[in-house]
């Protein structure tokens, strides 16, 4: 088990290196350059070239990569080329915000969807099962840019019962953040409920088909104990796996939500950096999200192994 974890952690390193190279290469071929982003379309060619020179943006790509990589591993993440703010605190702050939103959303999503999934699995092919499946499925296809606007309009503008932004004013206690995060979490719920519930359902169905469950029931164990003891635990196996893979998106993929609800998360930070060629910011943000994605997958696998002893033995 520990060996497995160690091996996975070690493998993260070459993966991250490759990922960082890939991003550098892709950003290189994007149209435009950082000097132009800073000075705008009305500056002359010479002016832009001068600025690029000053920023070191005209050096060959491998030189820039080496310089950036060297700085990155020693903790010097540099300064944003456009915003002149240090990259490290900016990225960390945005990441923190995204984690809070993702965490809050998961707290809402996971119990609900697991319950729904297990119930549909237990009453397989019943009317309840089909209703849950179809309705959660229908919710997943509502794009967040539609649900977000509708929710904002209904609850923040028309009814005025919830705030129109996702961040409380400065100096508010940390707990108040969750009140402000209610609205943005709902589109996320729509999108994830169907998917996670389906996984819980699959897990439930598979477990119920296992002979030892029937044996347990025949042996006289109360059904409720059987369910909570075995079914739930095993239904969580596919569910946890899926949640682990979704965390990456929940942290780094919420550009639309962050834009609509004016939330300074890392998704928007990345997209802005990509479009303006702000490479230090882009690289740092992408790598942090990648690390979190890999870590969350690892944690999910560990949890699965803990839940399912047979896998654990496999090492």
């Amino acid at each position: 088990m520990l060996r497995l974890i160690g091996r996975r952690l070690l493998l993260m390193v070459p993966t991250l290196i490759l990922a960082s190279i890939l991003i550098f290469a892709l950003a290189e071929v994007l149209p435009g350059d950082v000097g132009r982003s800073i000075l705008g379309p009305y500056a002359t060619q010479e002016q832009v070239e001068l600025l690029n020179e000053r920023l070191g943006a005209d050096r060959p790509i491998y030189v820039r990569y080496a310089a950036w990589a060297g700085g990155f591993v020693t903790g010097d993440w540099g300064e944003s080329l456009l915003l002149k703010v240090p990259v490290f605190p900016t990225v960390m702050k945005a990441l923190g915000n995204s984690l809070v939103l993702a965490g809050f959303a998961l707290v809402l999503i996971v119990p609900t969807s697991v319950l729904l999934g297990v119930f549909s699995g237990l009453r397989r092919d019943s009317a309840l099962d089909r209703t849950i499946t179809v309705s959660t499925l229908s919710m997943t296809v509502i794009p967040e840019f539609v649900s977000g606007v509708v929710l904002l309009y209904v609850f923040a503008v028309w009814l005025k019962v919830l705030p129109v932004t996702a961040m409380p004013p400065d100096g508010s206690p940390f707990v108040s953040r969750f009140y402000y995060l209610i609205l943005p979490a709902i589109p996320l719920m729509f999108l994830e409920l169907g998917y996670i519930a389906r996984m819980a359902r699959v897990g439930t169905v598979q477990v119920l088909a296992m002979p030892y469950i029937r044996t347990a029931v025949l042996k006289g164990l109360p059904r409720r104990r059987v369910i909570f003891g075995h079914v739930l635990r095993n239904a969580m196996v596919p569910t946890v796996t899926v949640i682990g893979s979704q965390v990456g998106w929940l942290i780094g993929g919420l550009v639309v939500i962050e834009t609509l609800f004016v939330y300074p998360g890392i998704g928007k930070l990345m997209v802005d950096a990509a479009q303006t060629h702000d490479l230090p910011m882009l690289e740092a943000a992408v790598l942090m999200v990648a690390i979190l994605y890999m870590l969350s997958n690892l944690i999910a696998d560990i949890v699965v192994a803990l839940l399912n002893p047979r896998i654990r033995a496999g090492g």
Binding site: P14, A19, V134, V141, S245, G248, A290
Partner: protein, 327 residues
């Protein structure tokens, strides 16, 4: 946007709800024996096996037709296919503008109202199915082909090849999808073909993972061992032996990806990549009309409902297939 990155972890492949019906080991061992020992009788054994397979297929089809989930899904998808292909022949023109009557609500002359340029929303909603129904299936097929190839190679050969390939797949999966698609699409430009290629490429890593799991499950079976003992080349074993026996997980994976492809195409259009006006594409329409949501909600509502119904339809088909295959 397909955020379902890396959907299956290292555990058992749980996306497949079905078992491998047509890969019944006894059935296939018979075939192998017959081929090795009694070349002449191979034909007989073949026809017995073939008959059996035909019977199973007919059984499957009958079961599907009886499954309400599957049928409802099929009806919805077929409806959109017909609309996408033929609606232009009986609706108003989806591009004809009438700026002086823009943003009007549903009425007798415009069943779904008009958009900001005065175009008929009903005509555009019906015609908008076309782009999605071209892009999503083709992108899915691409992903299945590329992902299938990678999964086959990695799963069959294992060892170092597998490690290297899967690490590369991990890298791709770790990159945030939005950034990768922005970068790729900014590079490649616009147009239907580009979107198809991009979505296909985006889904390839996930598909390769699933196929790989299925292949790993198959390669230990006796018919595969027998084929290798016979001295067949790897390519032969992969394509002629293993591949036909993993068609079911491929189909299920394909239908799942199809649902996501529909959604991804819409979201990419929303982000401003790929499709361009005056296309009636739902994603593009929702993106451009979103600013009018408060004053003219019909411009967003109908394409959004259409998109939702199509994705639900595809998912119902997947669901139906899954239920039938797992019986």
């Amino acid at each position: 946007m397909d955020r379902r990155n890396g959907a299956s972890g290292p555990g058992p492949d749980l996306q497949t709800e079905g078992s491998h019906l047509s890969s019944d080991p006894e059935m296939l061992e018979l075939r192998v024996e017959a081929a090795v020992d009694h070349p002449g009788q191979e034909l007989q054994a073949d026809s017995a096996a073939a008959l059996e397979q035909k019977r199973q297929r007919r059984y499957l089809v009958k079961a599907l037709l009886r499954s309400p989930t599957f049928m409802v899904g099929m009806v919805i998808v077929l409806f959109w296919i017909i609309m996408g292909a033929f609606s232009v022949y009986f609706t108003q023109s989806p591009t004809a503008q009438d700026a002086l009557s823009s943003l009007q609500g549903p009425s007798a002359s415009h069943w779904f109202g008009t958009d900001d340029l005065g175009r008929d929303v009903f005509a555009r909603t019906m015609a908008g199915a076309r782009t999605v129904l071209i892009i999503a299936p083709l992108a899915t097929v691409l992903a299945l082909v590329w992902g299938g190839l990678i999964g086959l190679v990695a799963g069959f050969w294992r060892g170092l090849t597998d490690e290297i390939i899967m690490r590369l797949v991990d890298v791709l999966l770790a990159l945030p999808i939005i950034i990768t698609s922005i970068l790729i699409l900014s590079l490649l430009g616009k147009g239907t073909a580009i979107i198809i290629v991009t979505i296909g490429a985006l889904f390839t890593p996930v598909v390769s993972r699933t196929i790989r799991s299925a292949v790993i499950g198959e390669r230990e079976r006796e018919y595969v061992m027998a084929a290798r003992l016979r001295g067949e080349r790897s390519a032969f074993v992969m394509t002629r032996e293993i591949l036909p026996n993993i068609t079911q997980p491929i189909i299920v994976e394909g239908t799942i990806r199809l649902g996501y492809a529909v959604f991804t195409a819409a979201t990419l259009s929303f982000l401003g990549f790929g499709l361009v006006p005056p296309s009636s594409d739902w994603g593009l329409t929702i993106a451009t009309q979103r600013v009018f949501l408060q004053i003219a909600p019909w411009t967003v509502l109908f394409p959004a409902l259409a998109l939702a119904s199509l994705v639900v339809g595809v998912n119902l088909i997947t669901d139906g297939l899954g239920r039938v295959f797992s019986k």
